[in-house]
Subunit: 394 residues, 4 copies
């Protein structure tokens, strides 16, 4: 069931207050999302290679328990390791062949952690554990059936386009602060970066929390210099998106006089107490946008074949993106999709599209219906894209 | 900053499709929410009793790893226990006196589990573990300062009133199915009950997943009889809220001919593989409502003093409830609140209220402003209410 | 191969120094032994009841990690729970029926803990966890074969009789201090009691470590009074066995002037740091006797069918006990048995008996050979006795 | 108190049956001993470097829970990782400076595991966890006092010299089979090698259990060839020590016709079910010798300063070694030492020496007394030797 309605208030800029947040790649919640998704990727690849199909798994529950650390200018070390517990279900046997789920998951987790958190010492600073249990063997056949997979649940997904100014700014800032180039220039910057953007009327307030790497920050002057430089840079990056007034503040809880600033040993607050879980941070478009429709479904870690809580997020996003790209008269679009449990994922229970456009209904319906159909029919591209990390999910 | 705007589309019934879900008290995600909140309650009471103030803690991260079980008509048993890991931070020492955080948390968790899941055998069917770590001792003084606490974060909360027909139905169904009275009549019904409501135009489809207790269900006839009776009861309960057409379906994945129906040993799917985490299920009003504004903040387990991700949920709810109660001309109201980190919780960064009303602006502003002020000033009632479980949170 | 040799120095009293130790029932190592053995008992009973035979298991690895506690006169509480991890292998499936190994083990452990450590609060003061893994299903048939089981290993066992004076005293003291009668009279006494006996020539020094229960010990006077009374009692008990000079000292590390004495919340030092493992404490006769031959085999937790590291301990003990009972001219006897892996347990590789007797060889050989044969042939009594805790093992 | 007695039966060769065993470096129990001792070493070095003294710790409790693996000719992999839990107590803070006990322990454990078990894939094939808890801070001063440390316990140690033929053979075989040279020649040989030696009269039976590395063993022919070559080599090595008749048998449980032989993925049986604990395997001289006096004290992991359960093992060994080296007329010697809790470790409660010699008493007493005194006075060499792994301990 496809419904198309008009909505001239899709752009949140029409509201007096707008709130947008992003938890960066080194934030405990984002680390959990990543951990869950990476386990899904490594298992999917293994299943495909060994059994010719991605087999059943859902590894979308991960808990990170923060450690204890000491950080001071020029020196930082973890005193008590972080604890990361992977959990979920995964096919453990197929065709009489056992799958080394635990070793695969643990090995792969360590690999991406090394890249993502270069200041975390491995082994030693984190304990990797898992309690991924075997799925029902009955599911093997189900995952090998030909044709579109059957939706595993009644699930809901949303997407919208374009991003608002503020949304683009928040995404961009975290991205820029985590580029290797910037890290080369400012080795003081850790990976745990949180960007909170609030627009009140015409003023944009960007509040960043940036973990500094103690070892690379010899003294308060360096700290303040870098913070100052970043403040300036963030202002410049933000200005590329807006003409509104921009205020940037970094690490507002610093007490400079007391020498109490945001230093870490590892570049992430997970080292000292901040816990994390999957699905508690960014939505599938990388943002937390409480004024926009959002789904609670955590896409990360779910199986990319039949879990509509994951697959439909990308379907919805592709629909709005193509809608705007192919029908320029549509200024903004939002898509809400609902699956029907047990039906092929290509046959949703409802697809509700809202558009901001002056086009006549007649001019909208057919092209949008065609796009929806094509996106659904192209489900294999979506599925395979997860294995290549082509769709951002957190 | 208080803003009041008009919105005549607050009622989701105006949309062609509406989706509402509730994960019942025995669902793994809800069990995690409960576990987190109960640890906060038992600690808060202990702190108050021993130190005269609720001290710092945030125990809002819990992971439940499902077990393995066998269930057949007339017989059920857990083969591999569920694993529940409590995590977070809590003040471990104050006034030189140590707090038995672990024993308190574990003991209390077992107590409420016994009540909530009477079919779970304790000890044996679940392993309770914890990794709650000590908070910074510096926070003790902060939690003892007089006056309104300082907001610990920039956080966002939403509430709306009234609930739509569908929302009321979904809440009511799960509630009724978990009353002792009904359990007395139908001892076959477990505690893990999920209600999914979809309204498509004028038709309401209620899909329930109800875990049956194998031990109390001797055969297929009993199972089908009870399922049939529940289907009828749910239809009757729903009909009290709506004149729309109602369709009820329970345990749609049953394969009756193959003898494959939803039986459990313990009344919860946690026994066999379903994992859970805090904040992955119901929002603070007990519902998942993807078409409504929602916050991702998990209220459960956060400290009831300064954690605005918890406190503001109740502030916002009280504001809309009183607004509608005291100004009958307001048909519907929604409130979005944003805290200002470091400021007293009574001084939010913004309170944005949308109302559906024909009253003139002048007639709205003052009474609403007064209500907001009074709700904020009454913060101690909100704080203390958490300790008495007065505010539903999940 | 039976060898009988003469040894007139079997009695350790012939040596100038003798050392004997017993770790009481509440000592962390003994708790681990008990935990291992109780899991074996509960599984053995379950297997026998459900499958008609005791199936394969070895649960002889347990780790206890001490907690953290606070104890002062009149008050004691656990601040951080003890952690007990059960481990090993056990048959998880037979005749297509799954065995609830984890729930059985956890439930039963809690049951005996409640009895054995009445001052430990359950739940709360201890976390029970397990990592018992499934045995190979191939072993099911092996454990059901008729006739004498096949020895699982080449293993060595020793026993001797009679106990020396000092050995008897050490056993008796711990026993008396842990009787309900004495606990009724002196509720100050905990369960963690260690008795170390040293005989130097004609002087016997008994050094006891007795955990006091803080809650039941209101002040230093009570502590000293009870300690004094126990010292006197121990002297009296010891005097029943010897005419040697007896010196008793209890809790020698007490610093009375500094108020620093041996108080506990729970009656066991496991509450505050003392860790334990299986096989690190008493040998199968309940004693640690470094001057006597000892085996390192931990009997506790091993399967009572084919594990010669367990079964042979009792065989050897029965042989020496009957030898002395039936041949009064034998003043002392020791037996060392060696199994032959893969052979029936009734066909040892060697049985070496040493006796202190003036009887002629001819008068010794036949009766002893007969006793050995009868003890071996009576293997089912030995096996079944484990399930009834008839043979002390630690 | 020094006592010297004569004993002409010190050599076990005088007994009709002799039993000697060694669990090789890759055996689960030996891995636990090593793990415990290595944590002690890395902590001791850290303490000395940062605080000028080895501070209090006892990390002599470790549990290894075996994994699950698949091995077939030419291929092996771990399906479920091994789990290694380090436990004990260690000083966590001194001079206001925190000690990264967990990271140090985990990092170092991984380092030596990589060397010792080259076929174990790290990370992935093993989960390293720890529950080492902080020692009492009061102990810091105690460990810094000058002069000989005070004995922490009443503890017993034994040593004897020389090793019997059989003892030497058992030690040598395991050693040879684990040399890099032999591994270069036979990459099929894993690290988990158990040698059991039984001498019955004049016949020596050597039964070896040798884990083969599946990946390096393409087929049954290779397996049998290597087994055959090893059998021959072992016979040759053994013949260097004895003129008795030698029988060597390797992997006697092999069922060659059924293709069922001892293959592993990692070279250790820990991969598939064999659990381990500290103190359950070799005594401090590397052997299990049930016919000899043995102490149950696990030396591995104990602090090398004041833990007489560790230190006295080396004292006793040095005493017998020097006694035989310096007094050639002594054919064999054994030493049993008992500490006195609270007294300097240089002042034992008793030192009992037995010698097999024809020398007159007068000729024995003075030189032995001098040796004992010198060994005790040289306690710092013993202490420091532990940090350099100079004394074999398991």
């Amino acid at each position: 069931m496809l419904t198309i309605t008009r909505d001239h208030e899709l752009d949140p800029v029409l509201r007096p207050v707008e709130l947008v947040e992003r938890k960066g790649i080194g934030h405990p919640d984002t680390l959990c999302d990543r951990a869950a998704e990476e386990v899904s990727i490594v298992l999917s690849r293994y299943y495909r290679e060994h059994f010719g199909a991605i087999l059943h798994h859902n590894t979308d529950k991960v808990l990170l328990v923060g450690g204890r650390a000491h950080a001071a200018f020029g020196h930082g070390e973890v005193l008590e390791p972080i604890y990361l517990l992977l959990s979920g279900r995964a096919t453990g046997i197929a065709d009489g062949q056992h799958v080394p789920v635990g070793p695969l998951a643990l090995r792969h987790t360590e690999t991406w952690l090394r890249e993502t958190l270069p200041h975390l010492r491995l082994p030693g600073d984190i304990i990797l554990d898992y309690r991924i249990k075997p799925s029902s063997p009955d599911l093997v056949a189900l995952f090998r059936r030909s044709g579109a997979p059957l939706a595993n649940d009644t699930s809901f997904a949303v997407a919208y386009s374009p991003l608002s100014e503020l949304e683009q700014i928040v995404l961009r800032l975290e991205h820029e602060l985590n580029t290797p180039a910037l890290k080369g220039r400012y080795p003081q910057i850790g990976e745990d970066i949180k960007v909170m953007g609030v627009r009140e009327g015409e003023a944009i307030h960007l509040t960043l929390s940036v973990a500094f790497v103690a070892r690379n920050t010899p003294d308060m002057d360096t700290y303040l210099d870098v913070k100052h430089a970043l403040t300036r840079l963030c202002g410049e990056w933000a200005a590329e998106f807006t003409r509104r007034e921009i205020h940037v503040a970094i690490n507002t809880a610093d007490l400079v006089d007391e020498g109490c600033v945001y230093l870490t040993a590892t570049g992430t607050s997970a080292e000292a107490g901040d816990d994390g879980e999957v699905g508690r941070g960014n939505r599938a478009n990388g943002l937390i946008t409480p004024m926009r429709p959002m789904t609670l479904e955590a896409a990360a870690g779910k199986n990319p074949v039949s879990h509509v809580g994951k697959v439909y997020q990308v379907f919805a996003r592709r629909i709005v993106d193509r809608t705007r790209a192919e029908i320029p008269e549509i200024r903004a679009a939002a898509c809400a999709m609902l699956s029907r449990i047990g039906s092929p994922i290509t046959e949703p229970q409802s697809v509700a599209i809202r558009v901001d456009s002056d086009l006549a209904d007649a001019a909208l319906r057919d092209p949008i219906a065609r796009i929806v159909r094509e996106v659904l029919d192209d489900w294999e591209t979506v599925r395979d894209g997860f294995l290549e990390r082509r769709w951002g999910l957190y």
